[in-house]
Amino acid sequence: MFLARVTGDVVATVKHPHLAGRKLLLVTPEPTPGRAPLPAVIAVDSVDAGVGDRVLVADEGNTAAQVLGMPRGPVRTIIVGIVDAVDGPEPPPRRRRTGP
């Protein structure tokens, strides 16, 4: 699972029947300092999240099937929580290489 920010929503009339009636949101993984930013991906919403929310996202098919209460289908990225707060150390800064 990873932390992400909801940065948009996706409208798709024609989609796989497994996705019928599901809200699709654009989620951008939170950047790790010193690492290249990860691209935004499309996630199924299960917690009524909205644009601007900080969310917890799972990217695994069996997880998605359990959360949706459906047999396995073509869904693996799913929003499973809206984050109130995260406690703990900041991720360590990436060590900078010195000299050639």
């Binding site: 920010r5 909801v6 940065t7 948009g8 929503d9 996706v10 409208v11 798709a12 009339t13 024609v14 989609k15 796989h16 497994h18 996705l19 699709l24 654009l26 951008t28 691209p39 935004a40 991906v41 499309i42 996630a43 644009v51 601007g52 098919g61 998605a64 396995r72 289908g73 073509p74 869904v75 693996r76 990225t77």
Partner: protein, 95 residues
């Protein structure tokens, strides 16, 4: 799921029996605006009658195979939706 642009079609007369009757399209990954982000185009099973040039979304990995009626097939990418519209949060909100 990832955004992609259909960039071509693949025709295979001889293919894995589990894929009989399925269409294969070439897809390149894009950002939400549809701009290619680089990387090699890949072949994906088309489940929504997509056409070349269309912006679609794609599921990769084992979940692609599960998108077909018979999940016992070797697909690792499947087109599962046609993108009508993407609403992006205004700069500052969200990002």
């Amino acid at each position: 799921m990832l955004f992609g642009r259909v960039v071509g079609t693949v025709v295979c007369t001889e293919k894995v029996p589990a894929w009989r009757g399925q269409r294969l399209l070439m897809v390149t990954t894009t950002d939400p605006a549809g701009t290619p982000v680089g990387g090699r185009p890949f072949a994906a099973i088309d489940l929504v009658s997509a056409a070349p040039g269309q912006l679609v979304f794609v599921v990769r990995g084992r979940e692609a195979a599960v998108a077909l009626d018979n999940p016992e097939n070797p697909a690792d990418a499947a087109i599962v939706g046609l993108v009508d519209d993407v609403h992006l949060a205004p700069a500052g909100e969200g990002a």
